[in-house]
Amino acid sequence: MKNFGYTRHTDRQIDFDATDKRLYQFVFDLEPSINLCIFCGTCAATCSAGHFTTLSFRRISLLLRRGMNDIVKKEIENCMLCGKCQLVCPKGVNTRNVILQIVKGIEKYEL
């Protein structure tokens, strides 16, 4: 068949209505401070693991809300639970507990 150079792109929009919000809701119920995040990135700036991996608490906080749980699951494996992010957070997010609850939520929903 003649190739006219056309390609088909997959839809890359976040289909918000179709996202899986269970994990975020689970974490929010047990650690409501997750929703204090203003995405300033101070956590990610201080994160030692983030220098060498794609770990960013700020990003995890956002991806959770968008139901991108597969990425969250992969990302948190890089966290060493050192707690520096919690020290610098201007909003008082309990970052370590958020990570711990994500782990529990992933187990619960078998994500």
């Binding site: 990135g41 101070t42 990610a44 700036a45 201080t46 957070c89």
Partner: protein, 359 residues
């Protein structure tokens, strides 16, 4: 003739004094420093127009002079007595001032940047505050590093001591965002070769013309705005500073060196506010500024009849709004002293601080 004592000779105290005196009251203005003008005296040029701060001070002083306000400099209040609807105030000089109303215009203090230790103010040579930078502007000195080098890269950190649970100041200081934009332009004007970076969480350009100033900084002065809040600054061997920040929009942590770092410090409740609150038995709000009778309609009123507020003693504010507020306070006092029924209006009580946890 009825007497009014105004405490604090900054912007609000000066303008309210002039307006009250113009209304025919006898006004004593108490200022703890040896000059009037308050913190405005330390500011060189003003956002958004770049007008000299001194021109505003001169304008306010003209009002104080013209209306024969009795100014007490280097004076403080040591004692307050309340007798029915009058007050007796005793100053450090031993003056006894009898008055029918008190206007508190005790202003704000600057956040002590040393408390954000991770930014190194008072530790590293080339970390200064926005107030320090204003002093350099006012003095006409060149902007130089500690070693006398012209900085080729300058960083501004927004929200230092503001919107920060860890610093104990959860509110927005309102004026630092636009100050950061103004100062970035001024540094660029003085050192056109310098690269300027403003590190921010949000840029709150809420006032008229603030957005225009921001646009000017971007378009005419090529100021770079990086959306990320610094986690720390560390000093390099040559005295420059290594900053750690997440470039949140790129989604990656970023390291960047600057020759000079300017911390945009916020406003905190003043020592004078705490002192007068204790002398008068007035409540402070959750954030430590004076607690007004109502957040919407009674911001000039305290819980004590005859005691009023003006300016930044109730919260961070711009010069424009402090002047407007001073004139409003003068009117409120005039209405109160003339026995007008308007002064007796009350708002239904409501729980003001449901906003804050466990208060």
């Amino acid at each position: 003739m009825k007497n009014i004592v105004v405490i604090g000779g900054g912007i609000a105290g000066m303008e309210a004094s002039a307006f009250l005196a113009a209304k025919g009251y006898s006004v004593d203005l108490i200022e703890k420093n040896d000059t009037l003008g308050g913190r405005l005296a330390n500011w060189d040029r003003l956002f958004p127009t770049m007008r000299r701060g001194s021109e505003v001070t001169e304008f306010l002083a003209e009002g104080v002079m013209q209306e024969a306000v009795k100014v007490h400099l280097s004076a403080d209040i040591v004692r307050v007595e309340r007798h029915h609807d009058t007050f007796l105030l005793v100053t450090t000089q031993g003056n006894e001032l009898h008055c029918d109303a008190i206007l508190l215009a005790t202003g704000y203090d600057l956040f002590d940047a040393r408390r954000k230790e991770e930014y190194g103010y008072g530790i590293y040579d080339n970390v200064i505050t926005s107030a320090d930078l204003e002093q350099i502007f006012s003095s006409g000195r060149d902007i130089l590093t500690q070693k006398g080098k012209k900085p080729s890269r300058v960083g501004f950190v927004h929200c230092v001591g503001s919107r920060d649970e860890k610093a104990g100041h959860t509110y927005c200081s309102k004026v630092c965002c636009v100050t950061g934009v103004k100062q970035a332009i001024e540094v660029k004007q003085q050192i056109p070769d310098a690269e300027i970076f403003n590190f921010y969480m949000d840029l709150r350009m809420y006032g008229m013309h603030f957005e225009a100033l921001y646009k000017k900084a971007q378009e005419d002065f090529n100021v770079q705005f990086v959306r990320g809040r610094l986690s720390e600054a560390a000093e390099n061997l040559d005295g420059s500073l290594a900053l750690k920040v997440e470039d949140t929009l790129a989604g990656r942590p970023m390291k960047i060196n600057v020759d000079l770092l300017v911390l945009l410090v916020g406003c905190t409740p003043s020592e004078g506010t705490r002192k007068m609150a204790s002398l008068l038995g007035l409540k402070l709000g959750f954030n430590g500024f004076f607690k007004t009778t109502d957040q919407h309609t009674m911001t000039n009123y305290s819980d004590i009849p005859g005691v009023f507020f003006a300016g930044t003693c109730i919260g961070p504010n711009t010069i424009t709004n402090a002047i407007t507020d001073a004139r409003a306070a003068a009117t409120a006092i005039d209405i109160y002293l003339s026995g007008n029924q308007l002064a007796n209006r009350k708002m239904k009580p409501h729980e003001e601080f449901w906003l804050y946890p466990s208060h």
